[in-house]
Symmetry: C2
Subunit: 623 residues, 2 copies
């Protein structure tokens, strides 16, 4: 991976930062956040402005360019990747390390007195604007909205914004109709005494209307906003996709409906002016509910006194708790996904020793097996297929320049998943096709112990996920090892593979309490820079637990693995496991045999079935 040469680009950007055609006054710094106007994590090519200006294309990062400096903030998953992709114009700011300044503090330290810091008001979330603006102002600087995106002005071959056909989902997938979702939303609005709710996150629009799209790779969403009133529904969306009879039927656009369920379709680009009109027409006490992560531009459209901002919207919270139809769909999707991975690992076991399987070949093969499964739509994120030292690059994606050949001498880490119409998968397995070293087995076993500690944890109803994060680290910590990422994230139901409001991470304190029906990943790891990476990831469902004393009827929760893919026993140092942990592995493998074995049988995949049976032999009792 050679770095992108950005000298000319930065020169050009610094020119437009002073060009009165684009800025009212020159800006001494320009912030290029990661997201799009919906604060999406995964974005369309036309929104990859930070990658365009810097070369760094990981999923999280913020670039800031001043007259003298160019700096990139990203987290532990991306330290190595960012260092590889950026040229020497850029300074890497490693978030999460003690000595790394915040963006605001860094700006204050490098800017000349009374500077203007520019940012696209549609891209920066309102909460971040507020925080930065405050710090900058107290240091004598100003954060200013720059209406025209300055990257777009220098990005001559910027791709078009996608506008792909929609998929309608019926009740067998969603469990609840969009009408009932609107009713539930309005009841939450009534509870909080708000008259309007603005849906800005793409997955929230998709979930609310039981529609899916493919405007953004890996995330089955489409560019749209919605504004829900107590008696009106406005959907802001472009293109001729609203001409599709299936969509018209699904949204009942041509039916005679009660007025409060009649959807008004409006152009995507009219959201700001429509919202300003709503803002201007409010009577006292009429509040408008927005996420505090909605863009500064849309938030400002509503006068401050009328805003009702929350970190998580009622849709975000409702979406996180999967209903029976969604849970059953997720189960089906994970069984199909396991079938594909059994095929893949069986194939790899035979092919790797021949020395012809590269990381890219393995990733493509994984996609091929997945695409053979019913209701497969696309992958749920870029496959992380990494061997040896590439495994230590936490969110690595193989490209021709970095593509290594799998061998019997190196650890192979595969983190991959798919979108099926009935559910979203995300699974990581770490394997060795030869003989792992004692050290590799030791590290793998600590990671496994952490994985089990979370998966088997029992905790009272109402516990927030971040309180479980240390369980995943305890075995690693005992030996002086750790990993620089959270332990788990929420997973959507045929939606974004990363979703809020729950998760398991030392970094998140604003997470909502876990409740039965939520789905998160459990994925501790260990990374030895330059040598190997280990991660063991299952998607798990929060379920009620049975305990002896049941927290005085407060209720108990635990997790049930939805992912049912063997964990390579060859990598386990059984002597480092407790009896309880050994039992957990054997029970888990028995479940893989029972559930996935039956499906392999049904699909007539006999060789993969034999592989599954070999890989799920019970661990021998402790010595």
């Amino acid at each position: 991976m050679s770095p992108k040469i950005t000298t000319e680009l930065l020169k050009h950007l610094r020119q437009v930062m002073k060009n009165p055609r684009y800025v009212q006054e020159p800006v001494q710094a320009y912030i290029v956040p990661s997201g799009d106007a919906h604060q999406s994590e995964y974005i369309a090519p036309c929104d990859c402005r930070r990658a365009f200006i810097s070369g760094f294309d990981g999923s999280a990062g913020t670039a800031i360019v001043t007259e003298q400096h160019a700096a990139m903030w990203t987290d532990g998953r991306y330290f190595l990747q960012a260092a590889h992709q950026m040229d020497s114009n850029w300074t890497l700011m490693k978030m999460g390390l003690k000595d790394t300044p915040t963006q605001e503090d860094w700006l204050v330290s490098v800017l000349p007195e009374g500077s203007k810091v520019g940012v696209d008001p549609f891209i920066i979330p309102a909460d971040q604007w507020k925080r930065m603006s405050k710090v900058l102002r107290s240091a004598g600087h100003d954060l200013v909205p720059v209406k025209e995106n300055l990257i777009d002005t220098i990005w001559t071959d910027c791709p078009q914004r996608p506008c792909k056909p929609l998929i309608t989902l019926d009740l067998s997938y969603t469990g609840v109709s969009w009408r009932d979702k609107i009713v539930a939303l309005r009841s939450k609005m009534a509870e909080r005494k708000v008259m309007w709710f603005v849906v800005t996150a793409l997955d929230e629009v998709a979930w609310l209307f039981n529609l899916r799209g493919s405007d953004v790779e890996y995330n089955p969403v489409f560019f749209a906003y919605a504004v829900i009133g107590m008696n009106t529904i406005r959907l802001f969306i472009d293109g001729d996709r609203m001409m599709d009879p299936a969509v018209r039927e699904h949204l009942q656009l041509d039916s005679t409906l009660e007025p409060e369920f009649k959807i008004q379709v409006m152009p995507y680009g009219s959201i700001l002016s429509e919202l300003q009109a709503v803002g201007a027409g409010l009577s006292p006490k009429e509040k408008v509910w927005l996420s505090d992560k909605a863009s500064y531009a849309l938030t400002e459209a509503i006068p401050k006194a009328y805003r009702y901002l929350t970190p998580y919207t009622p849709i975000c919270i409702a979406k996180a708790v999967k209903n029976a139809a969604e849970t059953e769909g997720m189960r089906r999707a994970h069984i199909k996904d396991a079938v594909a991975l059994c095929e893949l690992f069986n194939w790899l076991e035979k092919e790797v020793p021949k020395g012809t399987v590269t990381e890219i070949v393995a990733a493509d093969k994984a996609e091929e097996f997945r695409s053979q499964q019913k209701d497969f739509v696309e992958l749920s994120f870029a496959t992380i297929s990494s061997t040896g030292p590439n495994g230590a690059i936490i969110h690595y994606k193989p490209v021709p320049e970095t593509n290594r050949t799998l061998s019997v001498n190196e650890i192979y880490l595969l983190d991959s998943g798919a979108q099926y119409k009935d559910g979203t998968t995300d699974v990581t397995r770490t394997m060795h096709f030869g003989t792992p070293s004692a050290y590799e087995k030791e590290c793998f076993t600590y990671v496994l112990k952490g994985h089990i500690a979370v998966s088997a944890a029992i905790f009272p109803n109402g516990t927030k996920g971040h309180l479980l994060d240390s369980f995943a680290r305890s075995a690693l910590w005992d030996c002086g090892l750790d990993y620089l990422h959270g332990t788990g994230h929420g997973v959507g139901s045929f939606l974004n593979v990363h979703e809020g409001p729950c998760g398991i991470s030392y970094k998140t304190f604003a997470d909502e309490p876990l409740e039965a029906g939520m789905i998160v990943s459990d994925e501790p790891g260990y990374y030895e820079d330059g040598s190997f990476g280990i991660r063991i990831e299952n998607v798990v469902l929060v379920i009620p637990a049975e305990t002896k004393y049941n927290f005085k009827n407060r209720g108990s929760l635990t997790f049930e693995p939805l992912t049912l893919v063997p964990i390579q026993t060859k990598m386990i140092d059984v002597n480092l496991l407790t009896e309880k942990e050994r039992h957990w592995v054997n029970e888990y493998h028995q479940q893989c045999r029972d559930v996935v074995g039956a499906e392999l049988e049904r699909q007539g995949r006999h060789e993969a079935l034999r592989w599954l049976l070999r890989e799920t032999e019970p661990l021998a009792p402790l010595q």
Copy 2:
């Protein structure tokens, strides 16, 4: 404990809330916070305004009185106590439970439109003012400062503010002179480019000047403020205590000093006007550093643009990391404290079966034994001496009406500590003087497992204490049990028994990372309402740990118990312990024998020594 009858008092308060003699405009609600003008947790009798108006005298709680309602917010430690002490005029708001409204939300729900909410601006911290004021304003109400404290206007027999003599501490206790502390503080100020630092917390003033007092029971502090400039030192303190030759000598008040170390002594009551004068005389860029928990009144004295507010002051952070002299002092204090407790428990073992020992007698006896130790000053908090159901009242203090007699049929919980000139102690032991039930032993053993999980935890340098909280709960959670308080708090060095900025609690996310030299408590518990309480508490020192891989030179930390008092083995169900846990108990008890045994021998306390040896017999191997 019978509740305080508050009907007349509330009537009187509601009158002054409308009396133009005290309020510019009538206030529809009046907030009575817990603290004093220094936001102290433990307060002098003259500052116990919330207890005066409500009857509830726990260490944490906020009362709000409106024309119709009177409500009290407190946390899990005090639910039972508050319910017992307050009459039916009061509604108890149980903080930490999901359905309990915040004070702001509750006010919004009960107040008539456009209400004024009054509060003493010296008592409410600035950060809390800001939060409440914002919510109230957005709901159309106003938070207003009421200069005269309304409780004081109706509190006819309010005691005088204490003004007791000071204790000077020499280098053998403090390790660092006050001059060197000022130098270090000024260097932190220079780093942040602030010109002034306002010391508002009483323990910070005491620590900075190496002085102690006894204005507040249990906390060896004195009423004072300090304002430190780059070239000036102002100490705001009342009374003739500055006439004491020892104090004058210690502070070098009569010496010829470099001007920047010359202390200007000023009246305590002049802080606001002096600070306003500082605020008025600031040049651009001259910032004033205050805690964001400093009172609203003092914070407002500095114009907003000149304020530099942080959640923890540099003194708070420096004070938390104990130096060698302080650590050695804490060790000595804990050995003496253990001697006193061995005497006490030996005495209790003989006396309890006679049926003559009440909770108060036991508490007094504990104080008597402690007072026999060198450099004993006073207790560090009100002794929690509780038997049977009283043990479930987490911060119980025996009074004649509740005083139970210890017996061989009930669990006894003693949470107590002392101030010695060389250190502060805080220890909880739970004992049975007869035969505990299987259930009592089971609960005790889970609590012990949690205690050990924290005490023996190994974690990377820079870890925040709240990430360890769940370790203390895991064994309880597995069986559906939990406790409604944090696991640990920072402990001062001959200072407040509760101090920031570190701790171990699921509730605190703003804690500073743990570092070697910090001292915290480790005190999980389990409480069965109406039956018994269990808590096992040691004070522990953060020390470097040795690990196999040492976090790639980031360094490892763990804890060393400073408290060396036997944990009653009779209460342990050994079969619930792992081999590692059993080993921990035996090692701990061996250390009690070695260290405390030697001191008991030296002090000629042979009977207590025999008790110690009996109580520290190694646990038998697991069956």
